[in-house]
């Protein structure tokens, strides 16, 4: 069933107005950007999300969470996308929570996440393009533990994170999925050097340099050499969630644009009367509906543990990225000059789209996954 259940609609009815108010562009994105906040997001909002039970949305009820699924998390992310709300929700409550699932580390970190006190970040990329199988950051055995050396980039909100989930290579060579091990690394561990980098959308991502970072054996999430399992879980959830965030970005940008078409006059007519803009708007509307359905499907398959989940997650991330790109491009073009000014919000959608589109693999990476998973 591809339509929302009553419970899911209730959740949406709570989150949508909440995010439109508390997570609004002016209140959050512009505020933290213009005050030069080092985190790039508000801890207050993070706490509010916790109070709504959202930070632990994927955490089992037994562990104090809401015990809901990817579909529900995606509903939250669509609203986050719509309002460009800066928040560690995707990386912490979705990706990291899924990574830690059923591991010993979950006990340590889940309570802080549920309480809105802990922020977690995923440290996977080592080059400008996403390619987790290429993980090369070295984790050498030392005594009972490991010694980590190497670098990571595009670690979203890494400088503000308490917990870094670091993919490292314990065996094999770059390009192989076996031999990757996932480590839970507290950010204040000795040898972890963090460069806080501002991105185009004024969110923050860290570049990490790990120099002889010594970890106990229990820092391993899942099994040694078999970190691909928790990592894939985290990336799958992250990608499906990013797809919904992109759908939200597309929806927010296009709604703003469609409204503008009904208000703005040129050559004595509302620009929405021009047939070319009507048809482009109608096309865009349809594409957003399709992307939303794809993201929903991916989330459902993840929740069902269906083997097609990876395929549809790649489809959803690629499609939502392309559609959101179309939405922001049409948004700026249809707004004309005003859309190029910092004062107007539409440009902020373009910047955020670019970042989320790239996160956990851009549309071309995802389309390549679609081909690979389909056997061609």
């Amino acid at each position: 069933m591809m339509i929302l259940t009553d419970d899911q609609r209730m959740l949406q009815d709570v989150v949508r107005p909440f995010m439109a108010e508390e997570g609004a562009i002016k209140t959050q994105l512009r505020h933290w950007r213009d005050t030069g906040c080092k985190d790039g997001f508000g801890h207050g909002l993070w706490k509010q999300l916790a109070e709504l039970g959202l930070t632990g949305i994927l955490i089992p009820e037994a562990a104090g969470g809401a015990g809901l699924g990817q579909v529900e998390a995606n509903l939250v992310l669509e609203e986050i996308g719509r309002n460009l709300t800066p928040s560690p929700f995707l990386t912490t409550s979705v990706a990291a929570v899924r990574a830690l699932e059923e591991s010993a580390q979950a006990e340590r970190w889940y309570p802080g996440i549920v309480a809105g006190e802990t922020v977690a970040a995923l440290a996977v990329d080592e080059a400008k393009s996403h390619n987790p199988a290429a993980t090369a950051l070295e984790a050498r055995r030392q005594g009972n533990g490991f010694l980590l050396n190497g670098a990571k980039q595009f670690v979203v909100y890494g400088a503000s994170a308490d917990l870094l989930l670091v993919a490292a290579r314990t065996a094999g060579t770059a390009g192989e999925t076996t031999g990757v091990t996932l480590f839970a690394v507290p950010r204040d561990t000795a040898g972890v050097n963090v460069e806080n980098v501002a991105l185009a959308d004024s969110s923050k991502a860290a570049r990490l340099t790990l120099v002889d970072v010594a970890l106990d054996a229990d820092a391993v999430v899942g099994e040694v050499d078999d970190g691909w399992a928790p990592l894939s879980r985290a990336l799958g959830a992250g990608r499906a969630g990013a797809a919904s965030e992109l759908v939200g970005i597309a929806a927010g940008a296009s709604e703003m644009t469609f409204d503008y078409l009904k208000q703005r006059k040129q050559f004595g007519r509302l620009i929405g009367e021009f047939q070319v803009l009507q048809h482009r708007a109608a096309h865009l509307y349809g594409e957003i509906e399709i992307a939303r359905a794809a993201a929903h499907k991916a989330a459902q398959l993840i929740d069902a543990g269906d083997p097609r989940a990876d395929l549809f997650t790649a489809v959803a991330k690629a499609k939502a990225g392309k559609v959101a790109r179309l939405a922001v491009q049409e948004g700026i073009q249809m707004h004309g000059g005003i859309g190029m000014t910092d004062e107007h919000d539409i440009g902020l959608y373009m910047k955020r789209q670019a970042v989320i589109d790239e996160l956990f693999g851009g549309p071309r990476y995802q389309a390549g996954e679609v081909a690979r998973l389909s056997g061609y």
């Binding site: 069933m1 591809m2 339509i3 469609f258 078409l261 009904k262 007519r269 509302l270 929405g272 009367e273 047939q275 803009l277 009507q278 048809h279 708007a281 109608a282 096309h283 509307y285 349809g286 594409e287 509906e289 399709i290 992307a291 359905a293 794809a294 929903h296 499907k297 395929l311 549809f312 790649a314 489809v315 959803a316 690629a318 499609k319 392309k322 549309p363 995802q366 389309a367 390549g368 679609v370 081909a371 389909s374 056997g375 061609y376």
Partner: protein
């Protein structure tokens, strides 16, 4: 609920007994379908028998009322019947524009006498129908039709021409839009039914670029149509037409919805060219995303939550996608696929189907018309 279980068991037993083995083999092409009607030549006794037993029970149209030849089943029972038929791979006993298009319109707009006569014939597959909507020069502007029906007391005198009448040369009767008044464009249209064997009716197949001729031009030269063959109210035929068009659009938008969920790249077999592979992967992203949307759309329809203009969005997106699919299949086929009649192009099927898809975004309302509908009814853009 207990009744439904019982109904399922009874249905299963009945199908087991009554569905011939030959009718449980999947159809290879449209040619294997049973179209019924006066001129139809059954391909096998089994095909005839299957139509007869199903027609007698009203299960060709399970959810129509019993008094009009239907099965009188509830929505839940209809679903059970379909599931049980699917379970044994039973073919549809009857393909029919009467069932999919005309029937619902008669149910809504016809009088008691008409319902009794026409719906029964449709249910039993006795009459094959064709559609007389489009006219030369009218194109997307359906309401601009010129075929004239003059009031001659007890009958209309019909003169004019239709095009794009599917299988007009094989159909028994036509349901037809005619102009009974010139006072207003939409207000002067009436909806008539008549026998294709009426004096003055002639048809001429249209040769398409694909080399096939599924459509005809149909000519009316002083055709007399009794007045009791008017459906609904004179000059209000546009309401009937719109209702029926809605059905057609849903049907077309649903065309790509069932199958084709497999990745194209997996089906074309061997994509060596990295640039073609990239394009196919891009296509598969769009195509699989649309498959998800189709599933959602069907669920929305079932739940009564689909926006009335949503079929336009689906029709537009689905047909444009299908055109792209065949463009890419041709690219993957290379020079083999360009052969007009050889085994390398599957007997010419590859290029002919490719050419055929170009009509997808024209028939049943062009892509441009669909986008206009979305702009107007969903986005509510000014002046759309």
């Amino acid at each position: 609920m207990a009744d439904l279980v019982q109904f399922r068991e009874a249905t299963r037993a009945w199908l087991e007994t009554n569905c011939p083995a030959e009718m449980r083999v999947p159809m290879k092409s449209e040619k294997d379908a049973c179209w019924g009607g006066r001129k139809f030549v059954f391909q096998s006794p089994a095909q005839k028998q299957w139509l007869e037993v199903m027609g007698a029970r009203g299960w060709t149209v399970p959810d129509w009322p019993k008094e009009y030849g239907g099965g009188g089943l509830s929505a839940a029972e209809t679903k059970v019947l379909k599931e049980e038929m699917a379970a044994i791979g039973a073919r549809s006993p009857l393909m029919s524009f009467g069932i999919s298009m005309l029937g619902p319109a008669i149910l809504k707009f016809g009088n008691e006498e008409q319902k009794k006569k026409y719906l029964g014939e449709i249910a039993r597959g006795e009459i094959r129908w064709c559609q007389g909507y489009s006219e030369p020069g009218a194109g997307s502007d359906l309401a601009g039709l010129q075929t004239k029906a003059e009031d001659k007391g007890d009958h209309y005198l019909v003169n004019g021409q239709k095009v794009w009448t599917s299988y007009a040369d094989e159909a028994d009767w036509i349901f037809c839009l005619v102009r009974t008044s010139t006072e207003s464009k939409h207000g002067g249209i009436s909806f008539l039914l008549f026998d294709m064997e009426s004096p003055g009716v002639s048809t001429k197949p249209i040769l398409l670029i694909s080399g096939n001729s599924p459509f005809c031009e149909t000519f009316f030269d002083d055709v007399e149509v009794p007045k009791n063959q008017l459906i609904g109210v004179e000059n209000k035929g546009w309401d009937v037409a719109k209702y029926l068009l809605g059905h057609e659009r849903e049907m077309i938008s649903g065309m790509g919805l069932g199958g084709e969920r497999q990745a194209l790249g997996a089906s074309v077999g061997g994509v060596d060219d990295p640039l073609l592979r990239a394009e196919i992967a891009e296509f598969d992203v769009d195509s699989l995303a649309f498959a998800a949307m189709s599933e959602k759309f069907i669920d929305q329809l079932k739940a009564g939550e689909a926006h009335p203009a949503m079929p336009s969005m689906m029709k537009y997106a689905g047909t444009e996608l299908n055109k792209r699919r065949h463009e890419l299949a041709m690219a993957a086929g290379g020079s083999d696929a360009l052969e007009w009649d050889s085994e390398r192009s599957r007997g010419g099927k590859l290029p002919r189907e490719w050419l055929r898809t170009k009509a997808n975004s024209i028939e049943g309302g062009t892509s441009e018309v669909q986008l206009g509908i979305v702009a107007k009814h969903i986005l509510r853009l000014p002046g759309a």
